[in-house]
Amino acid sequence: MNLAQHLPALQVVVPLLAAPLTVLLRRRTLAFAVVLAASWIAFAIAVLLWLKVDNSGTISYAIGSWPPPWGIEYRVDRLSAFMLVLVSGLAAVVLPYSRSSIENEIPARQQYLFYTMFALCLTGLLGITITGDAFNIFVFLEISSLSSYVLIALGRDRRALLASYQYLIMGTIGATFIVIGVGLLYLMTGSLNLADIAGRLSTVQSVRPVLAALAFLTVGISLKLALFPLHQWLPNAYTYAPSAVSAFLAGSATKVAVYVLLRFYFSVFGASQVFDQLPMQEMMLLLALAGMFAASTVAIFQTNLKRLFAYSSVAQIGYIILGLYFGTVTGLTATIVHLANHAITKAAIFMLLGCVAISFGGVSLARIQGIGKQMPLTSLGLVVCGLSLIGVPGTAGFISKWVLIQAALEHGQWWLVFLILLSSLLAVAYVWRFVEAAYLREPRTDCADTSEARWSMLFPAALLVVATIYFGFDSSLTLGSASQAASMLISGTPR
C-alpha cells in the first residue's frame, strides 16, 4: 500500500469527497476550510504527478486493479499533467478569493452550497483531464457541467437564472452529441479506452460511421468550448455568474473542453486516416478567424465590462483553435501555451472585475469612470491583463501570439500573420475602452468614496496578474511543457 502509487485516483477522489463533507458540515467557514484544503491538496497532487511524468513518462493507473482496456484507466501524460496543474492551480487561487467575493453575492445560508458545487465542478474538470476512458469523459463532463449550471444560477441578477438555463440546454445538447460520437466509436471498435480505440480504428473497414463520430464529437465539444458560432451561452453565463465563478469557469471549463478536443483529434483519430476525408483544418481556420474578428468586434461595443471580456474570451478561443489549423508541432504548441496563458489572464480579469463590482456596485463602463484614481491597483492589474489579451511584449499573451505567428510563417502564410495582427488591433480597441473610462474620465460623484477591495480578494488576483507578467518573461515553464506536450501529441508516442 503505497500512497504515491494512488496519486492519479486521489487527484479526483479528494475534491469529490470534499463535496458531501461540506453538505454535512453546513457551516460556511468549515465548508470553506474543507474545500480550500481539498483544492490545495489537489494542486499538490497535480504538481507531484507533473514532476513524475517529467521524470519517468506516462503514468497509467488501473481503477480497481482492472487492467485496461477492460477497466477504466486513468492516464497522465505530458498534456494531461500540464492541464491538471493549470486547473487545480486556478482552483487553489480562486477559492481564497471567493470567500470574500461571495459574501456580497450569495445569501449567507446558501454559501456552503457554493463550496459544494465548486468542489464538484473541480472534481469533474480534473476527472475529464485524467481519465483515459471515452465514456468516463462524458460522466465527468456532466459532473462539471451540472455543478457549473448551479454556480452560474447563484448570481444575484435574475438574468443569471436564464443564462444558466440556456447554458443547461446548450451544454446538454453538446454533451449528448459527445455521447453519440463515443457510441459510434464503440460500435465500430468495441472499446471505450481511448488508446485502445486509436489502435483499433486503423483496422476499421467502413469509414462512414467513424466520420459521423468525428463530426458529432467535434460539434459537441465545440459547444462546450464555445467555438465561434456555438458560443451563444457564454457571454450571458460569464456576465451574470458570481465573480468567483466567472473567474474559475473562464479559466478552466472551456480550456478543459479544448483539451478533450485535442485528446480526441490527436490521441484517438490521429493515427487513422479520417482527417484526409474531411476538410477539417480549413473548417477550423474559418471558424477560428470568424470568432477572432466577429467576437472582438462585438466586444468593442459592449458597455458591461464582464460581457466585454466574455466576448473577448470567445475571440481568444479563436486563437487557441487557430493553432490546430497548422497541424504542426509549432501550431499545436501555440494552442496549448495560449490555453494556459489565456486561462491565467482571463481568471485574473474576472477576479479584478469582482473587486470592482463590490466597490462600485456594478461593472458598466459608465459606472466605473475614474476608477484609475480610486482603485489604482485594481485598474493597473486590469490594464496589464488587457495588454496580455492584446499580446504586448512582456506579457504572457505575447508569448502565445509569437508562437502562433511563427507557426503561420513556417507554413509561409503571410496573410495569416497579417490577420492575427489585425485582430489584435481589435483587442486594442476594446481594452482602450476600459483605459479611457478608467483614466481619462472624472469619477462619478455618487461613487466618490470608493476604495480598493479587501486584501483577501486583491492578493489572489494580484498573484495571477504577476503570473501573467512572469510567464511573459520566463516562458520556460509554460512554453516548455506546451512544446513537449505538442510533440507528444503529433508523434503519437510515447503514449
Binding site: F135, Y149, R156, L162, Y165, I173, V179, Y186, L192
Partner: protein, 131 residues
C-alpha cells in the same frame, strides 16, 4: 436501389431509423418551442433517443444475459446497458436541475415563455434586478 434492397436496408437499420427520428424530433422541440418546460421535454426525448442508439446494437436476437453456462452460447453485450444506466442517471439529474431552474425563473419573471422573459429584460441598461 431495388425495392427489396430498400426494405432490407430499412429492416436492418430499423432501430437506427427510430433512434434518429426521436433524436431529430427532440432537437426540433428544443429549437422551435419557446416554453421552457417544453424545451426540457424535447431535451429529454433527445437524450432518450441516444439510450436506444446504444442499447439496440448490444442486443442479439436469441441472446441471453452473459451468464456462463453450457446451456447458452449466444450472449447480449451487457456493457451498453451499464453505460446507459449511467447516462439515465445523468439525464434525470439534468432534467431535475432544469425544472428547478424553471421554477426559479417563474418566481423571478412570472412567466415561463421565452419571449415574455426576454421582453421583460430587453430594456437596455436596466438597473440590475435583485432577487
Amino acid at each position: 436501389m431495388t425495392s427489396t434492397g430498400f426494405w432490407t436496408t430499412l429492416g436492418g437499420h430499423f432501430t437506427y431509423f427510430i433512434a434518429v427520428f426521436l433524436m431529430m424530433a427532440g432537437l426540433f422541440i428544443v429549437i422551435a418551442r419557446g416554453n421552457l418546460i417544453k424545451k426540457l421535454v424535447g431535451l429529454s426525448i433527445f437524450q432518450t433517443s441516444v439510450y436506444l442508439l446504444y442499447i439496440a446494437p448490444g442486443k442479439l436476437v436469441g441472446g441471453t444475459a452473459p451468464i456462463l453456462s453450457d446451456a447458452f452460447s449466444v450472449y447480449s453485450n451487457p456493457l451498453p446497458h451499464v453505460l446507459i444506466l449511467t447516462a439515465i442517471v445523468v439525464g434525470v439529474a439534468t432534467l431535475a436541475l432544469g425544472l428547478a431552474l424553471v421554477v426559479r425563473i417563474r418566481e423571478a419573471y412570472g412567466s415561463i415563455e421565452e419571449d415574455d422573459i426576454l421582453k421583460s429584460d430587453a430594456a437596455p441598461e436596466s438597473p440590475s434586478q435583485e432577487r
